[in-house]
């Protein structure tokens, strides 16, 4: 069990630097349900971004429909801005195989053509199965396959590591 707030502060610092370096004045944050949304909310406040937050549901873009069917936690995506030509920051809680981010990118591109997409994650736990890397990382954890890391919230954000199966 670990308090995630300090990690999010660290992310905010990294992101601030990165945006300045790339000369991005009006970025838009898009959080992936559910943990990514909580983190994106905190980042938005920290960075004083005025543009509304985007919420992205990737259920219908997952590559495991044939094995798992429709995911239970389905809820509507809300992107209250025009994606076309914007600089987006995609935010998620845990980066593992990279498949969720791949699905999120496909989803985003069905809304429009962004100018660029940066990836910010709270935890990079390794185990990549696709060529995906994050620009901003709160913490790197090297976990064995039979352990899972989860973000709990929404009030107090905490990281929980559990043995699976």
């Amino acid at each position: 069990m670990r308090d995630a707030e300090p990690l999010i502060e660290a992310m905010a610092d990294q992101l601030r630097e990165l945006l300045a370096a790339r000369d991005i004045a009006e970025p838009v944050l898009v959080g992936i349900y559910t943990g990514g949304v909580w983190i994106a909310e905190r980042l938005r406040q920290s960075l004083g971004i005025t543009a509304p937050l985007g919420h992205l549901d990737v259920s219908f873009y997952r590559d495991d429909f044939s094995r798992i069917g429709v995911h239970r936690q389905v809820r509507p995506s809300e992107l209250p801005f025009d994606v076309e030509g914007r600089h987006l920051v995609l935010v998620d809680d845990v980066l593992n195989t990279g498949r969720t981010v791949r699905a999120a990118l496909n989803g985003l591109f069905d809304y429009g053509r962004p100018a660029s997409v940066l990836l910010a994650v709270l935890v990079d736990r390794g185990g990549r199965e696709l060529p995906i890397e994050a620009h901003v990382v709160g913490a790197r954890l090297n976990l064995p396959v039979d352990q899972q890391v989860q973000l709990t919230g929404p009030e107090l954000l905490r990281l929980v590591i559990q043995q699976t199966g």
Binding site: D57, F65, S66, I68, G69, H71, R75, P76, E78
Partner: protein, 326 residues
């Protein structure tokens, strides 16, 4: 095996979508929530999701219908499925191969889903019982029996405006006897716990002992429409005059047509609905059909999201091996 449970697998998941009867509240809410997520797809630049990419959906329409067929086609295409449409004539003059032979031939083309519309009650269930186990069957209307996707898009539409079903008074007006839309909607509203469901029709258009379906019977709109939250007008077909069920369309409109006067009997925020296509001046006055209370066009839009939801859920359940959890 009971009719209505045939569409569920051992663990109560939807494998086919044949009838609302026998489904639980959870089943319906699941479909409604999924449809809610899919609703926004139509407003995006790319009106597609990759979910059913690689799947083949066959529209088997034994009864002609442009409107329902096109919404199912659109729903399948928006999920990136391949769609095949077969219009099979059923007039005895043209009767060729038996229904079972038709099914076998299409199965040989490696399909994943059949969307079926047929003039005989029970046809969708018959087809579901005779196709290979991996194929999902969606009922797009079988005789007078059921039209479950229509019922779902109707309650989806209602929920978007009036989510409190417990206090809802719904009136269904017109040819209940021949209506699969009415039967499915009555089941859906009862399962969702609707306050009261009323049917309003002359005696010739009411099925025997219809109260057993969980409705209150009225013969005059001036009694039945009082204070209702939702009015669903059913389509009146021309054949009803020939069958000596009604004297004329004029008399039907005079006694049952939804005019502005009759509309005023209902609650001020009443929803006016119709499964379409509407017969202006027969079931409904143009001013009401095009008026501020009408959500008829919304129903059409919602129909696509609802059908996308049902397709995703049933095909998804077929894909899942039993024993795997979500």
């Amino acid at each position: 095996m009971s009719a209505t449970h045939f569409q569920l697998d051992r663990r109560g998941r939807l494998l086919h979508f044949l009838t609302i009867e026998g489904l639980t509240r959870d089943h319906l809410i699941d479909i409604l929530d999924t449809a809610e997520s899919l609703h926004g797809v139509a407003e995006r630049r790319v009106k597609k999701l990759p979910t059913l990419h690689g799947k083949t959906v066959v529209n088997l329409f034994f009864e002609a219908s442009t409107r329902t067929r096109t919404t199912f086609e659109l729903a399948a295409k928006r999920l990136s499925a391949d769609v095949l449409t077969l219009n099979i004539a059923t007039s005895s003059a043209v009767k060729g191969e038996s229904l079972l032979d038709t099914l076998r031939n299409i199965e040989a083309m490696q399909c994943d889903m059949f969307v079926v519309r047929h003039e005989q009650s029970g046809a969708a269930e018959f087809i579901a019982r005779h196709v290979k186990p991996h194929i999902a069957v969606l009922n797009a209307g079988d005789g007078r029996h059921a039209h479950p996707t229509q019922a779902m898009l109707d309650v989806f539409t209602i929920r978007r405006h009036k989510p409190d079903f417990a206090n809802l008074q719904v009136a269904i007006v017109g040819d209940i006897l021949h209506s699969r839309v009415a039967r499915s909607l009555i089941h859906a509203l009862n399962i969702l716990g609707a306050g009261e469901i009323r049917v309003i029709a002359p005696r010739t258009l009411l099925p025997v002992q219809v109260e057993n379906l969980g409705v209150r019977v009225f013969h005059r709109p001036r009694d039945g429409l009082r204070d209702v939250d939702v009015i669903v007008m059913l389509r009146l077909q021309k054949e009803r005059m020939e069958g000596a069920l009604l004297p004329s369309e004029q008399e039907f409109f005079h006694c049952y047509g939804l005019t502005e006067e009759r509309l005023a009997l209902a609650k001020p925020d009443v929803l006016v609905m119709h499964p379409g296509p509407i017969n202006r001046g027969v079931e409904i006055d143009s001013r009401v059909a095009d008026g501020p209370r009408s959500v008829i066009l919304e129903q059409v839009t919602n129909g696509i999201a609802v059908r996308m939801a049902v397709m995703s859920i049933t095909l998804g359940n077929h894909a899942r091996p039993a024993g795997e959890t979500a």
